[in-house]
Symmetry: D2
Subunit: 451 residues, 4 copies
């Protein structure tokens, strides 16, 4: 019997550690991480992946693993994969069009988690409000996810890889390291008050701790050299990477710039579902999974289609096309935020502050329907909600909105006239898993802000 289906180029055995896989995983960006497979232009191939933590965060009903999560090892990526057109590899200056033909969880591993890190260990968008580590486990019923820790909610996944990118050239890598070091070192001078209030790292610079480089053996001179240079995978950058664009699901196409011969495509951090912003940081429904991909090399496409937006020709960004198959929601409840912070202070056209306010507004609102605020925070981080920049020009207020599909709830969450008070009747139990927070919260002049 003939085999019809995608060739598996990176298999995963979930009983093994990330570095024990047939093609050992990597968790840094560097041009010298060795290629593990080669695919041809037009060929459909399958890449499997572990969850971003490589199994560090488990399906146990405890948030201890989240509290002590090792931030140095994120994210385990599958690849790099070399792409060739007949015999010629993709070359710097080309554009690599990667189509996501299919994707999903790995069979038999159909669960995921959403979490917030401890304020002292990574935090999240609202870490000043929610400093302690929390976790919710999600189980999948085909297209749907539900969590015993956030009852009364069920939604279809808009599944996507959080990370997909090409390898940077050394030149690009140097640009990254330089500019991120600059913000790390001098950040406090140039940052606004609201941003330095919380203790999250300003950047994540190269570090040998926790570094994995695929086939390159740990501790060798080669490993030492690369580990010191290789960029962390946390931020999205010119090569794509951790874009966390929640609509990159089935049928999407990603146009990635090629910086090294062969393109050296890597991918990981599969999300069963994510809200725009991924606000809780460990914030999608994180899982292991597979991608079926098809690549096309657009020769010279980088110059033809992308324009450098900075000092060098490398300052470009990928382009995306959204696929035709998505969950269809018809009703949305929309929360607004303006760039006035919780202390009442006015910020100038700051979309980050406005979005924070929109998210906080939504959390408060939904907590009236029987949820703890931690439940809503995790929910808004992983459900298919849309975060929009609505107005960015009407000084001094940026307006951001957060739209939530009402169909994900088993109750009608819209405001209604003549209703009896909502809160008391509807206590949802149980709650998210959580750990205590041992640090000190910043003092603010607004008691309301501590919630």
């Amino acid at each position: 019997m003939a085999h019809y289906g995608a060739k598996v180029v990176v298999p995963i055995d979930l009983k093994k550690k990330p570095w024990e896989q047939k093609h050992p995983l990597h968790n840094r960006w560097h041009p010298d991480i060795p290629v593990v497979a080669e695919v041809k232009d037009g060929e459909v191939f399958r890449v499997e992946m572990v969850d971003f933590s490589g199994g560090g965060i488990t399906s146990d009903y405890s948030a201890e693993d989240v509290k002590h999560a090792d931030q140095s090892i994120v994210h385990y990526l599958s690849g790099p994969i070399r792409v060739v057109d007949k015999e010629t590899p993709a070359m710097p200056g080309d554009l690599l069009a990667v189509e996501i033909c299919n994707l999903g969880p790995l069979p038999g591993d159909e669960w995921g988690y959403t979490a917030t890190f401890d304020r002292e260990n990574g935090g999240g968008f609202l870490t000043d409000h929610f400093p302690c580590a929390t976790k919710a486990i999600w189980y999948f019923e085909g297209i749907y996810a539900y969590s015993p820790h956030i009852p009364g909610v069920r939604f279809p996944g808009l599944t996507h890889p959080g990370i997909i990118g090409t390898a940077p050239s050394m030149e690009l890598l140097n640009i990254w390291n330089e500019r991120e070091r600059e913000v790390e070192e001098n950040g406090h001078n140039s940052l606004k008050l609201c941003e330095v209030l919380h203790s999250r790292p300003l950047a994540n610079l190269p570090s040998t701790k926790g570094c994995h480089l695929g086939k390159i053996k740990k501790g060798t001179a080669e490993w030492e050299k690369i580990a010191k240079e290789a960029a962390r995978t946390i931020p999205g950058r010119e090569n794509g990477g951790n874009c966390d664009i929640k609509n990159l699901s089935r049928g999407s196409k990603i146009y990635l710039p090629v910086f090294v011969e062969g393109a050296n495509l890597s991918t990981g951090d599969m999300h069963f579902s994510q809200g725009d912003g991924e606000v809780s940081f460990c914030g999608a429904i994180e899982m292991s999974g597979f991608l079926e991909l098809k690549c096309e090399i657009i020769r010279g496409g980088m110059k033809e289609y992308l324009t450098p937006m900075g000092p060098t020709p490398l300052h470009v960004n990928p382009i995306f096309e959204i696929g035709p198959v998505e969950p269809r929601f018809s009703e949305w409840l929309v929360f607004e935020g303006i760039s006035v912070d919780e202390s009442g202070r006015q910020h100038f056209l700051d979309a980050s502050v406005a979005y924070k306010r929109a998210v906080l507004n939504a959390i408060d609102y939904l907590s009236k329907f029987g949820y703890s605020k931690e439940q809503v925070y995790l929910l808004l981080s992983c459900c298919p909600c849309e975060g929009r920049i609505s107005g960015i020009v009407d000084a001094p207020n940026a307006v951001a909105t957060l739209a939530i599909p009402t169909a994900i709830f088993d109750q009608d969450i819209r405001p209604k006239a003549g209703k009896v008070p909502i809160g008391p009747r509807l206590v949802r139990k149980p709650d998210v898993l959580r750990c205590s927070y041992d640090g000190n919260l910043p003092t603010t002049k607004n008691p309301a802000a501590s919630m």
Copy 2:
């Protein structure tokens, strides 16, 4: 023959000035602006409105009116309208649910404009790149708009009022004035470099210049007092106002907090269409128009449904529900921006910088298809594109995206392999209307940034 249809509570005669209308318009927020009409809970009523400029910007094929636009008179609003439930007016602490039953341009006035102000006279999101005043005229063919100044593009409008809000109480008005004065006065200390580079006003404080207060006669003592206190309509705030949420179209519902007896609802700034962000500032397809509205008073709803997010119980934001009738697009091309600016400098999780990059990337890309950059800037400001906050936690890069529906173009704008170079073949003529810029642009270390 019986009349079936909405009662007109604020009629507009386009041959008259805003202050000559039967119910003279106002362009400030203040609790003492006199009510012009009263409507009942559940009744469908019609409010007509002028364009935001009150006819100051015309359908002439010249950008001179934009260059010398009087910023002190924006935006002319219809109302205030008092809302009562049987005999009892809406009261502070209530929530006013306003349903948009229908809306559109005024018959016989089916055209609009999109513009950028001169850098010295209001500017826009990208004013450092596009300092001169420009204008494009749009004509409507039923649901569609097209512009002779941006050829090859046609799209159905997602029509909405840019401004809808309730009157603030004096207490709330004082909060606004205080916090905005603070940013105006001390802004430069707390702002980042990129923000002070451009000369746009940091806030728009009360000013008697250009002030209109409806029935209150200009120059009287009452007028003087109110004009000095009344808030400008430019930013969106706790009362709704200039939210510029592009999806507030037919069938939407807006839940506004009530701060004064009667709610005193005002609305204006009709947009035939707008992109998320309204980036060019005078950026929607601005037009005159009408709204058919239906109000419901949710007694005590402010406390029941909204939570103060600041030092006082007034620090709340409206909630919205999106309506069921919208243009349906299936294919989107998505541009990404990260929080690295045009000079290559890294910013920390700044969504405004990331969105700016996404917009600039899109402008560059589309200009390869025969358009001038000014054409694309205006187009992205007014077409139904979506601006998203995709990732806001992956330090140091915020990721923002701009999604453009491909169906609005008469050509295929997706990247393609093997294509002959695009630019030379496809010069689109004519161009936007424009005026020269007489000021000085800031110097930057990145020549690419000046485009």
Copy 3:
């Protein structure tokens, strides 16, 4: 002040009768009905129209007008309109592309009705089950319609003209008259039992009774000649006509064959909303209204794009493109019917019988939620439900489905486990308006079928 907007080519004064209008209306198809206006290719123009009955059915709360409705006068059409490209008219063999730029009710006349005719006076799809005349009045709140006679339901209209078509040539008219006379005369031999059971007319042949021919004066020799030849407007045919395609709303395009010089476009029978099948016959939300249209002549397009599907080159059908703006529903409840009739008798792949069963199943089901069957019959006739041919090949059963958007109800109409019995609690009052039926119903062997 310049006028921007569609030129009105056929105005309607609702205080006048159809034959008293500035451009008197017509209710027959014939090449010699005189043109009332001329429009140019590319020009947007406005056509106003009365409801199909020309005011014969009123907003009174009584079904008497429906019971005694004069079937000879349907449908009053606006036109014919001659279409020219520069100076050259559309010619036989061309294709006329008509874009619906906008449409809606006439201002101040924002109401409509849905009805079933008496079994002896036109009947409907289910006339054996529902023999008496009924009526429901609908009022519009912008995009929404609601009826005091069918409480608990509200939906956005998918507004469209029931009739739009070009004038037939004499040759085509003769073909129509011949083939319809044949079915009228010999129908009983070739028809199946189920079809002759009910007494609805088999065809509607030309008749001078009730005939209106626009500007041609009644009683003249010319009028007599044309009235005897002119086709009734009831069935859809090669020229388009009464297609009742519910999705021909804003932005749709209709490609009509041209049979006479100038095309002679006529339109009427505006529907605020209609379900697929328009099952109750007088079954949409019937109303007066306006269309804004734009025509394009595709020279030689009839031969280029249409293929005759019968003995002559005239046996063609129009083509349609659906517009981009429609109400968006995400949840549908679907009822199925197979081609076994109410007596239990098997029919061979008969989609009409299967659809009848699907509609009857839906009526029974929804009547469990507090509605009378007559309420549901009218509702399914006019709400935006979809009638599908799901399987047409699996002998002996055709499978047809009727999908109903659940969001139009103010209650959850899905089956639920553990619910208390539904019926008793939920009696919806009041009911449709109705008249008694004085005729005799056919006897059937199945008592259930009489409902």
Copy 4:
């Protein structure tokens, strides 16, 4: 490591024949076919299935297997599965809600076929026009299918099981056999001319030939008895069965009446994609596949929610809810048909004739774009096109429409003014696989009809 995912209750080994599987398949409906598995209310379980032909039709590039296909063996079903709620089985009178949590092709078998049978061996909806056996092979790239035999077309699948149903009781089975025998025996008297013209069987009565009954051994007395009584699976009936409702995809819910203890759910005939009507008969993209299902028993739900539409309480039909995840198309080209047949003869409100005309119109139209008519016939049978009953009351013409999403083509298929003739330029090669037809076609008075 724990296993998270659906329990496999019916596994398929594609290297084995249908009757050699661990749980041997069946291809008839009968209450006494033995249960192969038991599932609990609320549990997610996985059912695998062969394609309807059980491997009889292969991926070979030849239509010989289609020409000589054994019609007696269709369709191989997986099951029956017994459903229990705690310890109590579903009982007659209950309603079984079956949710489709997920579904797809079997891994490694990601291909399918669409075919027409020979006129003398099953035929199809248009067998008089297309009498010979044809076949097209489709390959899957994740969500997309493409066929080397129908070039220039690619579309995402709206995957669904063609067949899902509960076992009939003996009483219901007798009703089926009686009414279908009646049409088989007396059909010619009651059928219209157009229907007897083609030689397709009028019904498919029980036959021992090709019969498979799962675990019951062929040739035993028990087998003989059941095989003589058991209903063929070809038509959809009261138990669901071969409904071929193309939207029963991920997230759909099917409410099936329960006629026997345990419900005895069977399913099969997986379709990667199908058009409404499945016009070519072997007409979907037929494939092997899997379903992940979750059942809920609604006690007493048959009486509560379904109303008998015939002489006995068993004359009911299932209800369906469509799921939230479907391919999203925004542009449709719509073809219309009226109930006038190819000879020009008028039929009375016959939706089957009207739909036939709509399909023939679409075939003719699309064949102008470089396709053979056989290619289009197969394409319309399996692509996600929608078949609607638009008007069913305007005597004498039923109006049916066929809407095709334009995005599935790699060229613009809409009519255009000023185009050079289409046909000659665009010959699509290669063509469908086909066999010669050795029978005689019926003579008709219309030469056009033979195409």
